[in-house]
Structures are given as structure tokens and as C-alpha cells.
Amino acid sequence: MSDTFVSLQKLSLAYGQTLVVPDLDLDIRKGELIALLGPSGCGKTTTMRAIAGLMAPQSGHILIDSQDVTRVPANKRGIGLVFQSYALFPHLSAFENVAFGLRLKKLANSDITKRVDQGLETMGLAHLAKRKPDDMSGGQQQRLSLARSLVMEPKVLLLDEPLSNLDARLRLDMRLELQRVQRETGITMVFVTHDQAEALALADRIVLMKDGKIEQLGTPDELYNAPQTRFAADFLGFQNIFEVVDQTIIGEGNALPLSFQTTARYLAWRPGAVALEKGEYEGTIKGVSFAGEQREFVIEAPIGQVKAATPAANPQHQIGETIRFHLPSEGACELSH
């Protein structure tokens, strides 16, 4: 692709004897915000560290802006990395933290002051310039960490779980912040997360990873509405996944006839797609929880557990009740593996 900015080619990454990422190929476009999404241990953080140069690949190549940087050490790659722990220097003030990288470049003092002030200003931290990181709130610390990386004008900005340490409100703020930065600077951004909601909200494209391999690569829309594997479906919220044989759903040694035709081997439904109070299947309610806008139910059915969710305004049900439910063709996701 002509606008490929970062290219991972046949990348193999290992810790000691354990091969974490066997053979990764990925092209990241210039200016895009791409998410590496997956459960812990899937290799997403390892891949990010390899891009940063903090980990040497066993084999393969990493290209940034058409240059092979595989052998280039971490301090010469021109990449920014915002750590999950923020990694702020506790012995330096906010100003000095942001100035750190610039001072290493031996820029003129006036230059440095100008750029740092501006960087702090953009992040709304100008009034905290003299404070030490330990005297700042979590949200401020993260913005400081971001400012420190951005002031270096990196070619690529990597972020490790940028929203996971924040409470719900701050998470929203930070999301907007990251999107703003991306819009204004056009930096290519790669962020790592285990939270599908984060990835869906922020990313232009999502790389869903499992066991060091790419499970599915696509836009948030594609992943949300059309996952291609059971793992992807499960990860993205299709909590009801069943095997289909001869137009029947199979589970727990039981079979229920399907109400529609399909050639898929597996079918998946989101909890919201399950229709309650009518339908040809029956089950007992084992669990009820209130989630604000929705009520969620765990139903014990012959084929196994079925998770359903209805708008909270709908009538309630108690644990122990028998309830009818329906697995419709609308909202059914067809999967082959």
C-alpha cells in the first residue's frame, strides 16, 4: 500500500524460549489510529514493544516510513510511547519531564522552553509546570505522559492501555483528548487494549489478536457486526455461540430445532438479540442483573446457558421463573469456525 507507514514483516517475537508472536504481518497506514485488541497474553503488548525497539525480534523486519529499523536501538527510532504506568520521572517537575527528550537533543534553551510551554498548554497542564508527578492526579499524570511524548514530534505514537487506569468519567475525557490530538497532528497512532469498547470507540481499524496471530483485521463496524470467528464473536460481545448441525442448535447434549435456514456451522447472538417472553424455546432464569439501561438475564436452557438483555422498561422477571425465548435470524451472526 502506498500510504503504509509502519510495516511489520514476518515478525517473530520470543521471551526466552517461549515464542509469543510466531509470524506477524501487518501494515499500518499513515495517520491512522489503529488498535491492537485482545486478551492478555495475546502478544499485543509484545508487538508494541518490538515496534518501539524495546524488544529485539527473533526474525522479521520492522519498517517505519520505508526505512528498516529492525536493528535501530530504541533511543534512535523517533517513536513515542505512553506507558500504562505513565513512567513519569518522579525526581523531575512536570516541565522537566516534558523537556527531558528535548534536552537530550541539545536544542537551545529558548526553543525548549517554548515547545514545552506549548505542549503543557495543549494538555491543560500549564499551571502545573513546577509540580512533581507524585503531586498530580491520575488524569493529570497521564496527560503529562502524553505531552512528554508528543513534544518530541514522533513519527509514530504508541500507547499502552491508555484508558484502563482511569475511572469512567476520565476515560471519556481522555478518549476525546486522544481523538483531538490525532486530528490536529495527524500522527500515526497505535494503541494496545484489552477493552473492546475502547477499541471500537477510538480506532480507525482494529487488529484483533489471539495467541500472537491476527484473528481479524477490520474497521470497528466490521468487527462489531461481522466477526469472522467464534473467538472474535465472543470477544466482541456475542455471548451466545452455538454449534449448528442439520438445522438444529446443539448444546450440552441436547438439540433444539432452528426457526430458520442456515448453512453456517455456528451461530452467534448478542444478548440484546435474544427475544424474551415469546418463542419456541423454554428455560429457567438463573440470574438477573440491572445494568442501567438494560436488564440482563442468564437463562438455563437445554442447550446450555443463554444470556439475554432487554430494555429496563420491560417487565421484570425473577430468578427461578420459567421463560420462553426466541433466537431469531435477525441479529444472528453466521460463523464457519
Binding site: A87, F89, P90, S149, M152
Partner: protein, 273 residues
């Protein structure tokens, strides 16, 4: 339940009294000899002591070696600590155990080994002659170098332990963060590691320095009477010349220096807490 102070004092008293009566008093009296001349209080003894060239040499040598051992152990210590901290758990424990092990072994055994190594017919000389670097064995024993080596081996573990502890407390990821921002390894050391571990460095340095000051066996065995340090001089003054005044003076100097170092340590410990 712990309001009754008298109870507390009663519990702590035996230990305190024991130490004071059976220890501090005798020592105090002995030290006071240093302040007396012909039975009268005076610090003339100190002047007489300070004036003699031998005493000056010994004093300066003791200080010099103390600093040198502290400095070299700091350099080696940082290198080691950095490597240890990057090891994985199982290996780290084993290496750490091996490093601490020598501390448990009697200084007599630890020092004696050096005689075998540094002596005229020892390994070092055998190697040197074998490689043709010298015709005759060179004297290493009974030089400051020998004492230095012995002290270094004795106290290096203390420095390493102190630095490893300090480095383990570094905030996570500050080193990779500095690297990504462009720092070379040397810059990472000077700008990040050194400032953030300086407490550990001071603690280790003080332990090593005071240890070297007050060491007896190692200077005695490896330095003998050719390379006198304050403690071996002390012993010599008492054993050979029955000169308790000098002994008291030297002891007071050592105690003051140790005490000063310990105060410094405590100041740092409370600042951290």
C-alpha cells in the same frame, strides 16, 4: 492497651540497663582516658597524637582506603545491581543468595584466602611469572593494595544489596521511557538511575565506609605492621606499648566517625519514610 508507659519502660529496661552497665560504662571509662593527661582532664593527648607522622599516615591511609573501597564498590555495585534486577525471579534469588553468602562467613576465612592468592608463591604471582611478566615474584601482600582488595571483597556484598534494593524500587518503566525519549545508556544512568537511587547509594556507601574504617582482621592479616590502619594501630599501641591513651584516642576518633555516619543513615531513612 498500650497506654501504660511504665509497663513499656519496664520491658525495655533490662536490655538498656544491661547494655549501659556492662558495656557502655566500661567503654566510656576507657575512652575517658583519652581525655586525661596525668589524671587531669585535658585534650593535650589529642594534640600529641595528631602531631606524630606515623599517626597522621595511618589516619589518612584509613580514610583513603575507606573512600576508595566505597567508590569502587559503588561502581561494581551499580553494574551488578543493574544486571541482577534484570534477571528473572528464580535466577535472581540464587544470585542474590550467592552474593550474600560471603557475609555469613568468618572474616578470618575470607581474608586468609587472599594470602594463598596474593602471596609470593600464590596464584597471582605464579601467573605473572608464568606469563613472563616478571622475573621475581612481586610483593602484593602487606601492601595497601592487598588490604584494599581484602576490604573490597568483604564489603562489596553490602553495597550490592543496598543498590539492588534501591533499584527494585525504581518506578516501573522509567528506564524504557527515557530510552524511547532518546537517552543513551550512559544518560539513562546519570539522569535517571543515579538520582533515583541515591539514597541506596548513600546507605551502601556509609556501610562500606564505616566497615572499612573499623575493620580489624583484614588489615591485620593482609597489611600486618607494614600497612597499619586505625584499628590495627590501636591494637598495636595496647599490646606492644601499653599505651591506653592512644588507644582511647583512636577509639574515640573511630566512634565519632561511625556515629556520624550512622546519624547520616538515620537522617536518610526517616526522610524516605
Amino acid at each position: 492497651m498500650f497506654q501504660n508507659r511504665k509497663e513499656g519502660i519496664a520491658l525495655a529496661l533490662p536490655a538498656a540497663v544491661f547494655t549501659v552497665v556492662l558495656f557502655l560504662l566500661p567503654v566510656g571509662i576507657l575512652l575517658s582516658e583519652a581525655f586525661k593527661v596525668d589524671g587531669l582532664w585535658s585534650i593535650q593527648g589529642y594534640f600529641d597524637f595528631a602531631v606524630k607522622p606515623l599517626n597522621q599516615t595511618v589516619f589518612l591511609r584509613t580514610l583513603k582506603l575507606g573512600f576508595l573501597v566505597a567508590l569502587v564498590s559503588a561502581i561494581i555495585g551499580y553494574a551488578c545491581a543493574f544486571c541482577i534486577v534484570n534477571l528473572d525471579g528464580k535466577h535472581r534469588g540464587r544470585v542474590f543468595g550467592l552474593i550474600v553468602l560471603p557475609l555469613m562467613i568468618s572474616p578470618v576465612a575470607r581474608t586468609y584466602a587472599w594470602i594463598v592468592i596474593l602471596g609470593r608463591t600464590g596464584i597471582v604471582n605464579d601467573t605473572i611469572i608464568g606469563l613472563g611478566l616478571s622475573e621475581t615474584p612481586i610483593r602484593i601482600l602487606f601492601t595497601e593494595t592487598a588490604v584494599f582488595i581484602g576490604l573490597l571483597q568483604l564489603f562489596l556484598p553490602l553495597m550490592i544489596i543496598s543498590l539492588v534494593s534501591a533499584m527494585e524500587n525504581l518506578p516501573s518503566d522509567v528506564i524504557p521511557a527515557a530510552r524511547v525519549l532518546g537517552a543513551s545508556w550512559f544518560q539513562v544512568f546519570t539522569k535517571i538511575i543515579l538520582p533515583l537511587t541515591k539514597d541506596g547509594l548513600v546507605i551502601g556507601g556509609t556501610l562500606v565506609f564505616t566497615g572499612s574504617l573499623t575493620a580489624y582482621i583484614t588489615p591485620a592479616i593482609l597489611g600486618g605492621s607494614k600497612v597499619l590502619m586505625l584499628e590495627t594501630l590501636l591494637y598495636q599501641r595496647v599490646n606492644v606499648a601499653n599505651d591506653f591513651v592512644s588507644a582511647g584516642i583512636i577509639a574515640t576518633i573511630l566512634i565519632v566517625m561511625s556515629f556520624g555516619a550512622n546519624l547520616l543513615l538515620k537522617r536518610i531513612a526517616t526522610a524516605r519514610a
